[in-house]
Symmetry: C2
Subunit: 318 residues, 2 copies
């Protein structure tokens, strides 16, 4: 009788502005157990404590080797310190040392979008290729880049900030302080803006009706639901977002030439409503089209667990 092969388990943690998600992940990317708490985003030391508590809780029931943390902020090149975060109170905060000391486990800190890209690359939609661009469309637009099988973190750890590609000179003011960033035209926030603008102009009666008569109550999920039901204004809002996103992706593909582009994030749950206009704009705008092989555009498969799964794998191969 042979012993069963021992399973190697690591813990992945995804820290965002609203929640902290932690899970025990095996080498095949399966999540054995998952826990979550509300993110104490305004208090950096409370976040560290919350991460430590979740890891300890999971470590009691599983034999965890290492911890990977995906953090919604700029992570330095040594994968220890969060230099800055737009929505969390991190300003040059060392996450790695306190987590390692409190848990006794080796830890790796990674940007959350990078961790999600890595998750889709090793266990999700981009499993068959060597290079992929992950585009995450949620409240904002984020990304991650894998080239020749390696996660590209950049010289200072802050690569793949694709939401801040400038697509309109002197365009809309972005939260980053610049004008005309892709994020302002192709995010979930932009989707809601397009829908509300149409509603205010009297061009979206179906959306207004669904929102109980109040334009301000039009939300992303409401637009998605309406578009799925065939509402013209809902479909048009996705078309506008998708157009900008496809053009941005065409620019990114000119630079990176990946084999695959993976669309993830909450907005991508709309599926073909998003994918079709993105693909059309991407194909129309890609430089050298007809003279080059074309990257495949796909939806992500790991949902909101991509970051956790990716962080766990980065911890395993730290």
């Amino acid at each position: 009788m042979s012993e069963p092969t021992p399973t190697s388990l690591t813990c992945g943690v995804d820290v965002g502005g609203t929640k902290i998600l932690a899970g025990v992940v095996d080498e095949k990317g399966a999540i054995l157990e998952q826990v979550r708490v509300t993110s104490p985003a305004a208090d950096a030391s409370a976040i560290t404590s919350a991460i430590v508590d979740l890891v300890r809780e999971l470590d009691e029931r599983h034999d965890i080797e290492a911890v990977g943390v995906g953090a919604a902020g700029y992570v330095d090149s040594s994968r220890s310190t969060v230099m800055f975060a737009p929505n969390i109170a991190w300003r040059d905060v060392d996450l790695r040392s306190p987590i390692e000391q409190a848990t006794g486990l080796p830890a790796v800190i990674e940007n959350d979008a990078n961790a999600a890209a890595w998750g889709e690359f090793v266990h999700g939609a981009a499993g068959e290729v060597d290079s992929a661009l992950m585009v995450t469309v949620g409240t904002g637009v984020g990304g991650g880049i894998v080239l020749d099988g390696a996660l590209q973190r950049g010289a200072f750890g802050v690569a793949a900030e694709i939401g801040h590609l400038r697509v309109v000179p002197g365009g809309l003011l972005c939260g980053c302080g610049n004008h005309g960033c892709l994020e302002s035209y192709a995010s979930g926030s932009a989707l809601v803006r397009y829908a509300r603008e149409a509603a205010s102009a009297g061009q979206a009666p179906g959306l207004v009706e669904r929102a109980g008569g109040s334009v301000e109550d039009i939300t992303g999920p409401l637009v998605t639901e309406a578009a799925r039901a065939g509402d013209a204004a809902g479909v048009a809002a996705f078309a506008e977002l998708g157009h900008w996103l496809g053009e941005g992706i065409a620019s990114l593909v000119a630079v990176l030439d990946p084999a695959m582009i993976v669309l993830g994030g909450g907005v991508s749950e709309a599926g073909d409503l998003l994918l079709d206009p993105v693909r059309a704009a991407f194909r129309a705008q890609l430089t050298g089209r007809g003279h080059r092989p074309e990257a495949e555009l796909r939806l992500a498969t790991l949902g909101n667990q991509a970051g956790l799964i990716g962080a766990a794998d980065l911890a395993r191969h730290r």
Copy 2:
């Protein structure tokens, strides 16, 4: 008495639309001998013959190990075939096999801008860093990307087409068929256009005088010369080009996060006239500025020999 260490020599060839440049390069990047011929750009087999003749000529006088060719076109991922070239009659032309057969030497084919980037990375301006973005400003805008010490060719061999980042929605028509590409706003051709537009509007008397009274005779070198002498319209043309280039570079740095950006190509010979406005726009537009280390912006040091030197090194480490 000890024998002198044998020198390892490879041949680098840079094939453009106007000339073919070939040289024998040692492992330190020094060019021992260099030859050139006019490029028979309209005849693909004549180009191959010309390359072979130059390599044979140099191989008679030097002990060449391998040949690296930088080609102004899309080179496939196996580094053999030029899939397409805008200014040369290459349409799916295998360069590698005929060169290897005719010379008896192993050969590597690489995109010319990639080869130049590699040259600056191993023997030029970016020698001290692990990751760099090379931006070549000539008639067009090209580029090359080195991350973690590796030249990034992309999944299909056509990465780093940074001139075709779209910077203006519905902007000027580019030779690639798209509208609003960076190349249309930040190339040597754009420099001349800015200067001629100013001249036509009566705002560049100094340039018109230098051009013998004819707006159509205003050229890039003339604008450079005038700007160096302090001509306001000449300086303004560089400022406009530099502004667009700096903004484009800010987008690219958001995506790639390199440690260094190297500006090369004919237009970069203007030095600070170009570098100052590029740097100002880059710093003003970089997302997350103040919260991240900042990539250094430098001029290239290898001039028009960067491609030849880079191709020779790629052949050495094939």
